[in-house]
Symmetry: C2
Subunit: 263 residues, 2 copies
């Protein structure tokens, strides 16, 4: 059972992250006191899903909860924290869930601020596995960090302190392994669709590529024409990619990067 200092949480935001946090908290027996979204339909949907109060007006937010979790767009965090400071008690612990935003955007408005960042890509229609997901927490004082650690442990076992600086770097790395990797899946799909070849053929390869680095260093798993120095194949591929000039540029640059990394 969560202790009294963390049992009263309010969730601001009902998007991907907010929804997954709410569902997991509820499943683990800690129902947020209230959920907020600017869009009343989203607030209502999430409130009903976890059986709790909801609102879409800041003045309706419960003013004396212990922790407020801002699961909203990076660009909106600072402004919302500022507005929130007019409605809730000044000693509240206010945290955001963003990988890219420094915790200090909240500091201007609340002395008890922090970060509560689940490092995962969330989709509304996919179940999240909180037993695996790292929850990156930070706050300026030990007592606050302890609170956030306790809160994180309710979601799953992998709670870790990560500083603003470390989190910013992690976020860059996450862009490479998630956003950019997904763009390469998209490029493959675009090419194959245009050529009437089914993308299904690549799915086992995609899964195995990801699974391989669970135990081995990605560097040691590199294969293909670039690392083999197979210029004939690279030349054939670049020639084919003449019809996709932008993909050709990417092909050349990433191949160069592979060759350099392993030289």
């Amino acid at each position: 059972m969560p202790d009294a200092t963390i049992e009263k949480i309010v969730l601001i935001g009902a998007g991907n992250v907010g929804t997954h946090l709410a569902l997991r908290f509820k499943a683990q027996g800690l129902v947020p006191l209230q959920v907020f979204s600017r869009k009343i339909t989203k607030a209502r949907k999430l409130g009903k899903a976890i059986g709790t109060a909801y609102c879409n007006q800041l003045e309706s937010i419960i003013p004396d909860a212990s922790i407020y979790i801002l699961a909203i767009h990076d660009g909106a965090i600072g402004e919302l924290a500022q507005k929130l400071s007019q409605y809730i008690h000044e000693k509240a612990l206010v945290v955001h869930t963003s990988g890219a935003t420094p915790s200090t955007v909240i500091k201007k408005h609340f002395k008890n601020y922090g970060v509560f960042y689940p490092l995962q890509t969330f989709s509304i229609n996919r179940k999240a596995n909180f037993n695996e997901i790292p929850i990156c927490i930070d706050a300026p004082r030990v007592a606050l960090r302890k609170k956030l650690e306790q809160l994180g442990k309710i979601l799953g076992p992998k709670v870790q302190r990560v500083s603003d600086k470390e989190r910013a770097i992690l976020h860059v790395a996450a862009v490479f392994v998630n956003n950019f990797t997904n763009q390469f899946y998209t490029i493959a799909d675009t090419i194959l669709t245009k050529e009437n070849i089914t993308f299904e053929l690549l799915k086992p390869l995609i899964q195995e590529t990801a699974r391989k680095i669970e135990k081995d260093k990605p560097e040691d798993m590199q294969t293909g024409p670039a690392i083999r120095g197979d210029q004939a194949t690279i030349a054939r591929h670049l020639e084919y990619l003449e019809k996709f000039p932008e993909y050709k540029k990417l092909y050349a640059l990433v191949s160069k990067s592979i060759i350099k990394e392993h030289s």
Copy 2:
């Protein structure tokens, strides 16, 4: 039980692909008559592993098998087929396992030629799941294709005819989803290692990124600063990447590609 026309196979090459094919054939009850590798240690190791004959001299290759599978480097296929034609009977069906090489490099030396390409990334110390792996086959005549289809079905259910042209395109797409994706894992690992942050934190994200496209189109799964048009985050990331100029170039180019794909 395989029929008589495909039961006599010789496997040329004892690398990743050759080894996995040999082990799977053996497990499915079709032990190759012989395995060949230029390196006697590799030939012996694989021969003993599947309990069959092995050699490292072309003149020792069994001359009257029905199918010869060349699981060797792309660049070596043509030359080996030429040499092989001096030692084995001219009606043998000779195929290679390469994604990047046209079947015609064998055609010059054998009228019964073809391709037997398992579309997967193989590692010596990882078990391959042949129930998932597409086996891409082709040959110039129906009877040969039937033989290769039968042979493929011994390995697993996903046997499909793929022409030289289609296979070349598939191979380009495979480079994007495997080689290039793995390079981005490597880049993330390199950055984090340099900053004393553990790469472990990214592993659940990597797995989920791959799993997401099992059911959904990768295009619809795109997230991150580029697709959101979040210039502030992109600028911060580029600034951080000043210390990795090559990664910075990649970051800018892939971000541009994401923006273009979704505009």
